[in-house]
Amino acid sequence: MILSKEQQTEITRIAVFAGQILHQHGAESRLVEQTTQRLGIALGADNIELAISPDAMVITSLVNGHCVTTTRRCHDRGINMQMVCEVQRICVMLEKKLLDAKDVKKRLQRLKPYKYNRWLVVLMIGFACASFSHFFGGDRAVYWTTFVASSLTMIVRQELGHRQHNPFVNFAIAAFVATTITSIGAILEIGENPQIAMAASVLLLVPGFPLINAVSDMLKGYVNMGIARWVFATLLAVSVSIGIVAAIKVTGVSGWAI
């Protein structure tokens, strides 16, 4: 298959679009690189070279000694595993010759991030943090205090995120709300050890996915991506702790060993 210059440009655009979707929705760097390369090669390129940085990617396709290079900015659009799965599926279907370039482009453009019903998420996150309070040794009253506090915190987080607020501001405010609500529980002495609720109710704000991605990126040789993710996650944790400390100063109750 000999590709013309226009066709080469077209397949480069398709490949970089797939890579951009993966990057924006929180896939790890190895997956972004591999999937983009496989897609490009399956579409007929001889080789695909990729440079990933935390907020952009550069891709060069090589066909018959001719290069086409293009750059895309990748703004973070939130972690969405369903998008990652869809792009991966399109890649596998292309490799099995079930799709051609036109279908791939159409399918990629048609992808829409699926979101769960927000109230269902609120409910599940409430129970999740309540389960953490059980792991910390809380009794039933603490369980329900944590449930209420973290559900309300999740609503605050969703509302602020929906209004495109900066994630650091969002997390600090959410941590403040969570700690304030649970400190009311501590003041009213609900349950055996109400301080446990203060520690458990902020665990919905742990940036777990960026932290795991950071370490696995660094392990697999993408050190710059790993450092960027690590710093982002650390800053999120710092802003959460500032929110917690602010609430402790206001209410005068501390649930932490300090």
Partner: protein, 158 residues
């Protein structure tokens, strides 16, 4: 024999409380609906395995490493079966083991050192919690990566 049943009961309770955070956070990450059941199973399996290992006096870091490595292999099997990238199952499944409380303690300690001044007790809180966070997190992530580091070595899994 009754000691065995006591342990079994504790394990089941642990597994029950571990699947809830796994599914909750999987929904925050928008894992596809059909895969939520695998996240639940994985979360319950990994956390109760760690509980069992820690019950036999293994340090938390090594228990986490073994649990997350097992989860990595389980995720490998599922991802080959369903043609879905591995992080979709594995990350949500290990979320209940993330040392979030230690991390926040360390950070709060740092903020407190700034406001109240340096003291050995505060520094101890910061260092102990910070290091524990670092090691548990590395063990978690390294364990998940073991299949692709040792077996696949750079080749695509799906």
């Amino acid at each position: 024999m009754s000691a065995f049943f006591d342990l079994l009961g504790l394990l089941i309770i642990d597994a029950w409380f571990a699947w809830i955070p796994a599914v909750g956070f999987a929904m925050v990450f928008n894992v596809p609906r059909k895969m939520l059941i695998y996240c639940a199973a994985g979360g319950a399996f990994a956390h109760s395995l760690r509980f069992l290992l820690m019950h036999f006096d293994l340090p938390i870091e090594w228990a986490t490493l073994i649990a997350s490595a097992s989860m990595g292999f389980l995720g490998l099997y599922w991802s080959r079966k369903h043609l879905i990238p591995r992080p979709v199952f594995t990350v949500a499944s290990v979320i209940p083991m993330i040392p979030g409380s230690y991390a926040f303690s360390a950070m709060i300690g740092l903020v407190e050192i700034n406001t109240t001044g340096y003291s050995l007790a505060l520094m101890q809180v910061v260092m102990e919690n910070g290091l524990r966070t670092l090691f548990i997190l590395t063990a978690l992530s390294f364990g998940l990566a073991i299949p692709s580091i040792l077996i696949y070595r750079g080749r695509p899994i799906v």
